[in-house]
């Protein structure tokens, strides 16, 4: 009988990759903590820059929280593929028989679980510090959960295109910030409306629609970008 092991199916492979990424990340807890720490410190920057008046802060709080979440996501998106690129595992992934689409989703999924999800869960604390009114906090968490997923997917495109570059640095920010803007617009709008007592579900629905589009299309661009970077 054949002693050759069957290659795992795409779905199974995807889950295995996901688990691998999470395990690797958990071994370096500081790196998980970095974006959260950044979030906390920048939250402190805004009152320092704008003045501590509670009503003013509360008025700007939805936008401030969303912008900081966006920037934290920006900082970490560069690292999604970098370490695997450097040690050659990315090249192996490209040679694997499993479709790149799902493998890429595994990487991005892990990235979201380690940044966006944690950011969303921790955000109520900072919302409190900026005097965001209570009903809006739930909407904030929901909008961040959906929105950061979109940000991770879009950030992955920038990461894939720049992973092979030596002088990458700021370039990824220049590339993906324009694509972050629609998410910011609707995310902060959702929270602002929640503060006013208006139901925010339409805005959350729009972000969810963007998420569907991103899940469908971003992995194609990411896969193309990875092939270009690895072959370069």
């Amino acid at each position: 009988m054949s002693a050759v092991a069957q290659a795992p199916g795409p779905a199974r492979f995807c889950l295995v990759l996901l688990r691998r990424q999470l395990t690797l990340a958990v071994r370096r807890p500081i790196e998980i903590g970095n974006p959260l720490l950044f979030f906390a410190m920048v939250v402190a920057l805004f009152p320092l820059g704008l003045g501590p008046a509670p009503d003013q802060l509360a008025g700007f709080a939805p936008g401030i929280l969303w912008i900081i979440a966006l920037l934290s996501n920006l900082l970490t998106s560069d690292t999604v593929f970098r370490s695997d690129f450097e040690d050659g595992s990315l090249e192996q992934l490209l040679l694997a028989p499993q479709p790149l689409f799902l493998s890429v989703l595994a990487y991005i999924g892990a990235h979201w679980l380690l940044t966006g999800l944690l950011l969303a869960l921790v955000s109520p604390v900072f919302a409190l510090m900026l005097n965001l009114s209570a009903p809006a906090v739930g909407v904030l968490v929901a909008s961040l959960l959906l929105g950061t997923a979109v940000l991770s997917l879009v950030g992955g495109i920038g990461a894939a295109l720049t992973v092979g570059l030596k002088r990458g640095g700021m370039l990824i920010s220049l590339l993906i910030l324009p694509f972050y803007m629609p998410v910011l617009i609707f995310g902060s709008a959702a929270v602002r409306n929640a503060v006013l007592g208006i139901p925010a579900t339409p805005y959350l629905a729009i972000i969810a629609a963007m998420l569907c589009l991103a899940i469908a299309l971003a992995p194609l661009a990411i896969a193309a970008g990875l092939r270009i970077s690895v072959d370069a």
Binding site: I157, L161, R167, L171, L175, F179, P182, A189
Partner: protein, 247 residues
């Protein structure tokens, strides 16, 4: 038909044909621009509400229109280069980016200058201006990405991917910014007021728009010629061209 596409992919043929087109298109473009500018600047009546400052429309609107169209040209060239692996399409795409960025810059600056006498401020975050600003970032992103890659073939492919992602996003970005702006400024003044434009004002505007399209084509062809020479520097036909070239 097929042989046409085959020839399109040949650098020396494209170089020559571009040169031939430029020989008549460039003078025509410059004349058309001069005529359009003189017409709009000096020979049309001022707008009822905005006075003489509306004359900026004759450079703002054409620049903005061609800047947006140029992005689609760049995206199509990028797609062609990715799908059919045509190097000349890659050259076209790369040549579009700086021209598009320059035109977007003109649109933004003239729009800002127009805003000062009209609305009292140098900058208004209205939907169109904000979208133009984002378009400038998209163009500059393509330029930056191309320069960052050492391997120029990979650079072209990466820029093609980025441009296509941008193309998918432009409608989303525009609609989001439009919606966002309408929230905060219900009585938005249409920058061009083009619903009730008088024919005497319309014709010079159309001339300027056509001239700017011609301008874009000229700059694109000139950039492509320079790029082709640089890429094909080691080949026989370029060496023959350079032989005894006196500046």
């Amino acid at each position: 038909m097929w042989s046409f596409f085959h020839k399109l992919g040949s650098p020396p043929w494209l170089y020559r044909i571009a040169g031939t087109i430029l020989r008549w298109l460039l003078p025509v473009t410059i004349v058309a621009l001069c005529v359009g500018v003189t017409w709009g600047l000096l020979y049309t009546a001022p707008d009822f509400r905005q006075g003489n400052s509306y004359r900026i429309i004759y450079i703002h609107v054409p620049a903005a229109a061609v800047a947006l169209a140029g992005y689609y040209v760049m995206a199509i060239a990028g797609a062609v280069s990715l799908i059919w692996k045509m190097k000349m399409a890659d050259v076209a795409m790369k040549s579009c980016a700086p021209i598009g960025a320059a035109l977007t810059f003109i649109a933004l600056v003239t729009g800002s200058i127009w805003g000062k006498p009209t609305w009292g401020t140098w900058w208004v975050w209205d939907a169109r201006i904000t979208s133009m600003l984002i378009l400038l970032f998209l163009y500059l992103g393509v330029v930056a990405l191309y320069e960052a890659y050492d391997n120029k073939e990979a650079a072209g492919k990466a820029c093609a991917v980025l441009t296509l992602v941008g193309m998918v996003n432009i409608p989303i970005i525009y609609k989001s910014v439009d919606w966002w702006y309408s929230l905060h400024q219900p009585a938005s003044i249409k920058m061009t007021g083009d619903t009730t434009i008088d024919p005497s004002m319309l014709y010079p505007l159309l001339l300027m728009i056509a001239s700017f399209y011609a301008l874009f084509t000229c700059c694109l062809l000139m950039n492509m010629r320079a790029e082709i020479l640089e890429r094909e520097a080691r080949t026989g036909w370029v060496k023959k061209l350079a032989l005894g070239y006196r500046s």
